[in-house]
């Protein structure tokens, strides 16, 4: 790639970063997404653990889950909303008239998602130590970075899925921005190990990379994973889904251009 082509790629990617950033900083509800809801859910679960007199191990297990959940939730919203912002403004066609690719949309929105998700992770990590005396940064920096990268990429998977649904079924997919991720949290072992789930749910849990990333990080706190090589399995599933979803998103965009959905979403 020539240097001018590379510059072109960066500027186009920056467009989505710029858009997400401006909208995020202007949106009062955005503040709620980053601070209010994560804090509410984190503090509720933390105090509940104290009330139930859980052992420090158990409390740690749950706090790792709740911090991960909020980090993913905030990060995925930026990817999920990147097309929804255009749709709500009825301006979607103007973005797609320009020579942009799906990579620009996803990377640009993901950068803002990582920044916001990272802020949530750091705030909750700090509060976790301060209020509940639980240190989520016990593992070394490389393990924590790997875990966080896993969380962000899991968020990308959910966000891309929402974008695919938006391009396929339109406005009705709005609700997926919140519900898809909640379903994932239900079976990935946020508050409990997946071994307590019904058998069929365990099978589904094992097809989701977040399950393995949570188990990987909990190893550092003395918990035994449900299988061996959790990190390898988690990474494999993560990249498999990412590749599949990006391919499906290309197809969805093409289909939206064929069916007229792209125009309908701009009216």
């Amino acid at each position: 790639m020539s240097s001018s082509a590379f510059r072109d790629e960066i500027v186009k990617t920056n467009a989505f970063l710029f858009k997400s950033w401006i909208i995020a900083k202007r949106d009062i509800f955005g503040l709620f997404e980053v601070l209010f809801w994560p804090l509410i859910s984190f503090l509720s679960v933390g105090f509940l653990s104290d009330f139930a007199s859980l052992s420090s191990d158990m409390k740690g297990f749950i706090l790792i889950g709740v911090i991960s959940m909020n980090t993913i939730q905030v990060c995925q919203l930026d990817v999920a909303y990147v097309l929804l912002y255009d749709i709500w403004s009825k301006a979607l066609k103007h973005s797609f008239v320009a020579p942009i690719g799906i990579r620009h949309i996803l990377i640009g929105s993901m950068v803002v998602g990582i920044i916001r998700g990272g802020i949530v992770f750091l705030i909750l990590a700090f509060l976790s130590q301060l209020i509940f005396h639980f240190n989520i940064l016990v593992p070394d920096i490389s393990a924590t970075s790997l875990f966080l990268s896993g969380l962000f990429l899991n968020a990308a998977i959910v966000g891309i899925l929402v974008s695919i649904l938006v391009l396929t079924i339109g406005y009705k997919a709005e609700v997926a921005a919140w519900s898809v991720v909640s379903l994932m949290f239900l079976i990935c072992g946020i508050y409990y190990p997946i071994s307590i789930l019904p058998h069929w749910a365990q099978i589904i849990a094992k097809t989701l990379p977040l399950t393995y990333f949570l188990e990987y990080y909990r190893i550092f706190y003395g918990f035994t994973p449900s299988c061996s090589d959790v990190l390898v399995k988690g990474c494999f599933l993560l990249f498999l889904y990412l590749i599949l979803e990006i391919y499906i998103m290309h197809l969805s965009l093409k289909r939206a251009k064929q069916s007229g959905m792209l125009l309908k979403l701009s009216e």
């Binding site: 949106d27 064929q258 125009l263």
Partner: protein, 315 residues
Amino acid sequence: MKLAVQIRDLSKTFIQGIIRKKRKKALKNISMDVPEGSICGVLGPNGAGKTTLLSIIAGILIPDKGNILVFGEDLYSTKGIKKVQNFINISSGHANFLWNMTVKENFHYYGMLYGIDNKERNKRIEELIDLFSLNSYKDVRFSELSTGTKQRLSLAKAFINDPKIVLLDEPTVGLDPDVAMDIRRIIKEFHKKKDITFILTTHNMEEAEELCDEVSFIFDGQIRVKGRPKELKKKFNIGDRIIIELKEGHTFSKDFFISGLLNISISNSYASIVVDDHSIRLPEIINRFIKEGIQIKRMEIRKADLEDVFISFSR
């Protein structure tokens, strides 16, 4: 004559409904050529297929069949569309942009989508803000702009990538007459200054006549007639209408005739006369009446417009 856009046998059917049973043929085998540097109008009633055609040229709607070459590039080849999207842009009536962003931020966002670097982008944005008189609104959020200003922004945004082709989808729809006039003035100015090809859809005949070098009438997904506005009026025998009512006691003679007469209907003291050009024929009529001592009570002139062409061919 170099062609900016060449369309051949373009068809598009929309399939709707849960079981995909409803089918609406939006375009049926459309072919048209748009010369480089021209303003080409696509006219027709609502639902005729104008926006569908424009959306296909813009690359945001894929046709079922047909070919489109834009400056020689095949629009629906993978490489072609990437190239074409760099030098094409669109502006729509009922302008909509990111409502939470200011005018300037919207310019920056859309400029970035075309890969325009910061320095060049700033330069172009300043130019466009000046040209479209958006200076006092540059830091105002889109949601707070008036309809006319939104429309000016929509038009200005269409020039952010220094395009060779601009698609204007009903650029003055829903605007007050003075704002619409202003928008038309801007389009004409831009066309004069830069060698841009415009394709304009409208159902406003006056607008098409004022702006377009050539017009195509689209009806029920098909181009029914096309040509230069003047030629079309001639072809359909449509001229200026002079309506004259004479004072009491005066009547028109049944064999009233003047050169350039296209049609006439007479009822005693009232006549509706259609002539090729009222500016030439009206003085002739008045001179004749003066000579013959005929006194006029009321006179009205209706200039021929493309609406008459539209009515004529849709009959």
